[in-house]
């Protein structure tokens, strides 16, 4: 229980709204599809390795999309790959979130003009929650993107429709 750990002398009760509880548990265990595409994937690996330690935010790579909540599109999406990415996204269980990492998956990046085989932005095939700019984004930038996503989840509501 993270912050509440050992804060009470005896067993006690915490009163909160269901919404907050759900959101809180969702945002603190965002399991990720272990999936890398291109150069950005190396920075993603560096983020999850010892120095930056993705695990502390509850991001643990899972190898099957069925067990994951979040997919980080880390790199160039080509036309050949796009249909597969769509398939992986469809295999994930709801609620699911997408972080688009790097200029390539945001908008085609350096390949926007002459890339005859590059999809100019992964948002042409799947919806994206957070865009992280950079080529490649530094690990800090990716962490910031994750925090933004957590913020978004924190404000989700069971009754109100959120964008």
């Amino acid at each position: 229980m993270g912050l509440l750990d050992k804060q009470f002398a005896k067993e006690s009760i915490v009163v909160t709204s269901l919404e907050d509880l759900l959101n809180w548990s969702r945002l603190s265990s965002l399991w990720q599809v272990g999936f890398g595409l291109a150069c950005c994937a190396i920075e993603m690996m560096a983020t999850s390795a010892s120095h930056y330690d993705f695990d502390r935010f509850g991001v643990i790579p899972r190898n099957s999309p069925r067990q994951a909540d979040i997919i980080i599109i880390s790199g160039t999406v080509t036309l050949k790959m796009a249909t597969r990415i769509k398939r992986i996204y469809e295999q994930m269980a709801d609620p699911k979130y997408v972080i688009s990492m790097g200029s390539c998956s945001n908008s085609g990046g350096p390949y926007w003009e002459h890339g005859y085989h590059v999809l100019k932005g992964v948002d042409r095939v799947i919806p994206v929650d957070v865009y992280v700019p950079g080529c490649p984004p530094r690990p800090e930038a990716l962490l910031e993107g994750l925090l933004k996503l957590q913020e978004k989840i924190r404000n989700e509501s069971l009754v109100k429709k959120t964008a």
Binding site: L79, K80, A82, E113, Y116, H117, K120, R124, V125
Partner: protein, 176 residues
């Protein structure tokens, strides 16, 4: 160790008319031009000959020479007609440490070059790539399919100089 002139002489003596010319005037690299339908025999000879022993193919590249004349078709799109497609072979002998470059050209309308994939297995994928991107047909290649582009890509060979990219592929918009 042999220089390119000596190699040319050996080949000329053996194959006569199939060895077209030796070009040494360009800076940095000289090459020997060989008839496209004979390239496999020449390469096999070069690999197995005791004096040459080119046991390693360093690189195989397909090139669109774009040396024809430009014409506009009715839609205003520029086409290049009457040009040639070429294949460059960079060979090396790890034993004698000599290197040589071969070139073989075929007209773009009917770009047929004999395959060397059974002589050096290395050539297999490079030839598939040259077919995929430049559109050179390699005769007697064991498995000539597209390699980098999707198997169902219909818009032609992207590294040809007059290539036009399609607007859509499987419902996805391609241009920016």
């Amino acid at each position: 160790m042999k220089n390119i002139q000596e190699i040319f002489d050996i080949l000329k003596e053996k194959f006569g008319d199939s060895i077209l010319e030796l070009l040494t005037t360009l800076p940095v690299e000289s090459f020997i031009t060989i008839a496209p339908k004979k390239i496999n025999e020449v390469c096999l000879f070069m690999r197995d000959n005791e004096e040459l022993k080119f046991n390693s193919l360093m690189c195989l590249s397909g090139v669109d020479d774009a040396n024809g004349k430009q014409v506009k078709d009715e839609n205003g799109a520029v086409k290049i007609e009457g040009s040639t497609l070429s294949v460059y072979y960079h060979l090396e002998s790890t034993e004698f440490r000599h290197k040589v470059t071969l070139k073989s050209s075929a007209p773009k309308e009917n770009p047929e070059v004999e395959s060397v994939a059974l002589i050096w297995h290395h050539a297999d994928w490079h030839e598939r790539e040259a077919w995929d991107l430049v559109g050179i047909k390699f005769l007697n290649h064991p498995d000539l399919r597209r390699i980098l582009m999707p198997y169902d890509w219909e818009a032609g060979h992207p590294l040809q100089k007059d290539y036009k990219n399609p607007e859509f592929y499987h419902g996805m918009k391609v241009p920016y």
